[in-house]
């Protein structure tokens, strides 16, 4: 009975255009954010941060990024892994070249570099669409990984070919290296996620988002009403790559600490993020979070069930995990092709009427 629009009158267009027009949603959102910022840091421990929370937060950023490009603007991309590598290597080069530079700026600049690379690889999108564009971005994936392997300058000529994040701190708290506390790395990522998700929401609900969606739904009609297709597609590539670059930089610097490009940013990363947005829901910020949560949490949950409760050997469990996650994805997509976001929307529509059927 709480979930109602009735009686919640909007007296201005600004009020009607807010992100959470229903009071119940709005309060749910405020409580979630407050909980994430004020309560979780005190509860969190090493296991939760490394197994669940950090990968979830970081992949959420990547998923939002890809969702902007694929879900909102309709340009399929299989280059996510490569663009994440650009973010990671930019962060590494910036951290080693300018040790005094604040980590916040390093991460943002890495996003900027990736945005530039993304725009470059987005140029063919004016001419090619759909599967053909997917193949073109696949080329970006392989080219970028090859490039970071081939030229030792990118990994500072280290013998192993690995990049590892030196210790840096923000406001006196170590965020990278060996002395990081779970709460600090959690909060550091959370701040990025919070701001980036908010910006993504604003960009997608206004004029800019409408341009993207117009191109996605009917590019000819979009052009007729004054949308410049090249500029619009390139902004989508730029913004999307900015997010994905930041995700790559965070993944490398905060989560992994050390990375080898062929391993950490291979094609499977591209698919992982693509699955996240398909399962979560194309064209939805909430869906990006839901998809990231599903893809990060399911394996952990299954492992805990199979190894912890059923006592299966670890190797058997890890193989079964692939089978089960794969099966779940297939079943889920048959049942709800539009992902978690659509399920959520349907649930909300039902809730509005509950407990009355009409």
């Amino acid at each position: 009975m709480l979930y109602r629009e009735a009686g919640d009158f909007k007296t201005s267009y600004a009020k009607d255009q807010q992100t959470f027009p229903i009071a119940f949603d709005r309060w749910g959102y405020f409580i979630t954010v407050a909980f994430a910022f004020l309560v979780v840091p005190f509860l969190i421990n090493d296991y939760w941060v490394n197994a669940v929370v950090l990968p979830f937060l970081i992949y959420s950023v990547a998923a939002i990024g890809l969702n902007i490009l694929t879900g909102y603007c309709g340009q399929v991309s299989l280059g996510t892994g490569g663009f994440m590598a650009v973010g990671a290597f930019s962060a590494y080069k910036l951290m080693t070249a300018f040790p005094e530079l604040s980590m916040i700026i390093v991460i943002l600049l890495s996003g900027g570099v990736t945005a530039f690379v993304g725009i470059l690889f987005g140029l063919p999108s004016l001419r090619i669409k759909g599967f053909y564009l997917a193949v073109a971005t696949l080329a970006a994936q392989f080219f970028l990984v090859w490039m970071f392997n081939k030229f030792p300058w990118f990994y500072n000529y280290s013998a192993s070919g690995q990049i590892s994040a030196p210790e840096r701190s923000v406001f006196g708290f170590a965020v990278t290296g060996a002395n990081v506390t779970p709460a600090v790395s959690y909060l550091f990522c959370l701040c990025f996620v919070f701001v980036l998700a908010w910006v993504a929401r604003n960009l997608t609900r206004g004029a800019n988002g409408r341009k993207w969606m117009a191109i996605r739904d009917m590019d000819i009609a979009a052009e007729i009403i004054g949308v410049d297709p090249l500029k619009t597609k390139l902004t989508a590539f730029g913004v999307s790559s900015f997010y994905i670059g930041i995700a790559g930089a965070l993944l490398f610097a905060i989560y992994l600490g050390a990375a080898e490009v062929g391993e950490a940013f291979d094609i499977s990363k591209s698919f992982l993020v693509l699955f996240m947005i398909i399962i979560g829901g194309l064209g939805s910020i909430f869906g990006s979070f839901a998809g990231a949560a599903f893809m990060v949490l399911m394996p952990v949950l299954l492992k805990n069930i199979m190894v912890g409760y059923l006592g299966w050997p670890t190797d058997l469990a890890s193989h079964f995990q692939f089978v089960i996650v794969g099966g779940l994805i297939v079943i889920f997509l048959i049942l709800e092709p539009h992902g978690f976001a659509q399920l959520w929307r349907l649930a909300k529509e039902k809730l509005r009427l509950w407990p009355f059927p009409h």
Binding site: Y13, N202, G206, A207, A214, R216, D217, A221, I225, G226
Partner: protein
């Protein structure tokens, strides 16, 4: 009637000077001549119909007007200036809007968002402002929403404001598409078969909207339509095309009595 000047219609409206002039347009696709040496003009405030049998080149003509096709010969004059070859989105910014023969709405977006896209040429806030949803971006959003709400009221589609257009029935989709074109506040509105596939009642509604648009906003309209009853009722002047050529031009009454037009529509005996 002197075509260069303004004139007064049968129902007493004053029509202004030409907004759009097509001068000796020829459009070829390889060896196929889609449009052959056609000239006509569209005056400010008038409802101009383009009719003709299937394959006459009407839609090609509309595509020339809004820049999808670039004619090999001839000139397009818009608001007293010769138009350089431009991309469709640049032409849209000059004040041209259109609807399509097969509905071309943005299926994943709500009615409101679809019509709001029509306002894009009027929205100029930068990306930083949009990122923060603050300052100019928000003001623009609200101001344009007001304009869009007026159009929604005008077209009587308030109840489907937040429905994704993919779920709407055909007649309503056509209306939303008209709304999107109107939202741009065009100097010239092009309608490609606005009544195709509609029943009598829907046709009457649509005719009323077209006349109201012309009357209330003073919008100049050029439309392609197959329903002769409708065309003869609402159009001020009619261009008739057949096989890429212009075979008639004038008021509905003049066109109706034109022998070439009658031949094109009813056929000629070859004995």
């Amino acid at each position: 009637m002197n075509m260069q000047d303004s004139y007064i219609t049968a129902d007493g409206r004053t029509i202004g000077a030409p907004v759009m002039e097509m001068k000796n347009i020829t459009l070829r696709f390889g060896g196929v001549v889609a449009i052959k040496d056609i000239s006509f003009d569209i005056h400010e405030g008038e409802i101009r119909a383009i009719i003709g049998p299937n394959g006459a080149g009407k839609s090609s003509m509309l595509n020339v007007i809004n820049g999808f096709y670039h004619p090999q010969e001839g000139e397009v004059w818009f608001r007293g200036k010769k138009r350089k070859p431009m991309k469709p989105h640049q032409i849209a910014k000059q004040g041209l809007a259109r609807t399509f023969q097969n509905i071309a709405l943005f299926k994943g977006m709500s009615t409101l968002d679809n019509i709001m896209t029509g306002r894009l040429t009027h929205m100029k806030s930068n990306m930083v402002s949009q990122m923060a949803w603050w300052g100019k971006a928000q003001d623009e959003e609200t101001a344009n929403r007001e304009v869009v709400e007026k159009i929604i009221d005008f077209l009587e589609i308030q109840t489907i404001r937040k429905t994704p257009v993919g779920r709407l029935p055909y007649g309503l989709q056509k209306r939303v598409e008209l709304g999107r074109a109107l939202a741009a506040e065009p100097k010239l509105l092009l309608l490609d078969e606005p009544m195709a596939g509609m029943n009598v009642e829907e046709k009457e509604d649509m005719s009323r909207f077209i006349l109201d648009v012309n009357d209330e906003f003073g919008t100049t309209i050029a439309l392609i339509e197959h329903d002769m009853g409708v065309v003869m009722d609402i159009a001020d002047r009619v261009v008739v095309m057949d096989y890429g050529q212009k075979i008639g031009d004038g008021t509905p009454d003049e066109v109706r009595s034109n022998q070439a037009v009658i031949d094109a529509y009813l056929g000629v005996s070859h004995d």
